[in-house]
């Protein structure tokens, strides 16, 4: 029991931002960018992955609006019925204050085609869905989830994790497309 908890704490304490080692080199640039455009400062980092038997696809942070964001989504390929693992880590990199009462919503829902700009609501057809409500303290505020799932039907699915109610004029998300054949 103790070992399990220590292992988990170690894993949590080892959570790193996707930017990793590049963060130091980019720090000065980040400060300049934040001063130049404080309203669009990045508040959260994301690391979202979907793992299938032969593929592992990762996506990082984007912003909305627009709903589909600014960057093209990576694509993960899988087979009907195979064991898939959805995992995300989201952390605060807002340096000033705690951001309170943030909703962290995640879902995997059918979409018409790869790159579809529409972001459907998470309904009964969602393969995976849920949300957390929590405060994010600067630097150490983090949440992560790992969930096993499968797709019973072929199709294209949007995998998305997003912030809501973060007291900003924009929100953050990370998304990828899952193609099930």
């Amino acid at each position: 029991m103790v070992r399990r908890l220590l292992n988990w704490k170690a894993r949590v304490s080892n959570w790193t931002r996707p930017a990793g080692g590049a963060a130091k080199g980019l720090f000065a640039l980040l400060v300049v960018a934040m001063l130049a455009s404080p309203a669009w400062a990045e508040h959260f980092d994301f690391d979202v992955t979907v793992t299938s038997a032969k593929d592992k696809t990762r996506s990082s942070a984007d912003t909305y609006p627009p709903p589909q964001g600014r960057n093209p989504r990576p694509v993960c390929h899988a087979k009907v019925g195979e064991r898939l693992v959805f995992q995300f880590f989201m952390s605060s990199n807002f340096p000033h204050d705690a951001i309170k009462g943030v909703t962290v919503r995640y879902f995997i829902v059918p979409i018409p085609k790869v790159g579809s700009p529409d972001v459907p609501n998470s309904g009964d057809d969602a393969l995976v869905s849920g949300h957390f409500i929590m405060d994010f303290k600067p630097d150490t505020g983090k949440v992560g989830l790992r969930q096993v799932f499968h797709a019973a039907k072929p199709g294209v699915y949007l995998v998305r994790v997003q912030s809501e109610n973060s007291d900003s004029d924009h929100e953050h998300f990370s998304a990828l497309d899952l193609v099930v054949e």
């Binding site: 029991m1 070992r3 399990r4 908890l5 292992n7 988990w8 704490k9 894993r11 949590v12 705690a98 009964d124 969602a126 995976v128 869905s129 849920g130 949300h131 957390f132 409500i133 929590m134 405060d135 994010f136 303290k137 150490t140 505020g141 983090k142 949440v143 992560g144 989830l145 790992r146 969930q147 096993v148 799932f149 499968h150």
Partner: protein, 157 residues
């Protein structure tokens, strides 16, 4: 007779007071299957000897689309920094079994978060879960550093 029992009564009183004062967080855990649901609340931190509390049971059919809701609240007057809140769903051999090692190969769902807590501050979640395979699953929300947890045995037929 009374004289001989006095130290024991004092010890029991101290244990009860100690246990009550040790409770810093509470948790609610609810599993919903459509209109059916089961709710459980956290156990107090227990002084030794530890008494194994019987876990709440909930039975569903394989493939059911469940919603798991939990809420963790700080009830202490103290403040706590970078508290780990940990949740998981893992298969177990039978109802009531102690939590097994959380091998990623068998864990169905696991989350963790860190945040600061003061009196009244809470965090919550609503998580979809669809168990495909029959068996018994342990559903647990815990604050390990405060020895607080709420748990339920989910039987999938």
């Amino acid at each position: 007779m009374i004289r001989s029992l006095a130290p024991l009564m004092l010890l029991v009183t101290l244990l009860v007071v100690s246990s009550a004062s040790a409770q810093t967080f509470t948790a609610n855990l609810e599993v919903l299957d459509g209109s059916r649901h089961e709710l459980t609340t956290s156990q107090k931190a227990q002084a030794t000897p530890k008494i194994a509390a019987k876990r709440t049971q909930f039975e569903v059919k394989a493939g059911a689309k469940l919603q798991i809701r939990w809420k963790v609240t700080c009830i202490s007057k103290d403040s706590f920094k970078d508290v780990l809140v940990h949740f998981y769903v893992v298969p177990i051999a039978k109802a009531g079994q102690a939590p097994p090692p959380l091998d990623p190969k068998i864990v169905k769902m696991e989350s963790a978060q860190t945040m600061d807590f003061t009196n009244g501050v809470s965090t919550s979640a609503e998580l979809g879960f669809s168990p495909d395979e029959p068996g018994v699953y342990l559903v647990q929300i815990e604050v390990p550093d405060q020895q607080m947890s709420a748990a339920m045995d989910l039987t999938v037929k």
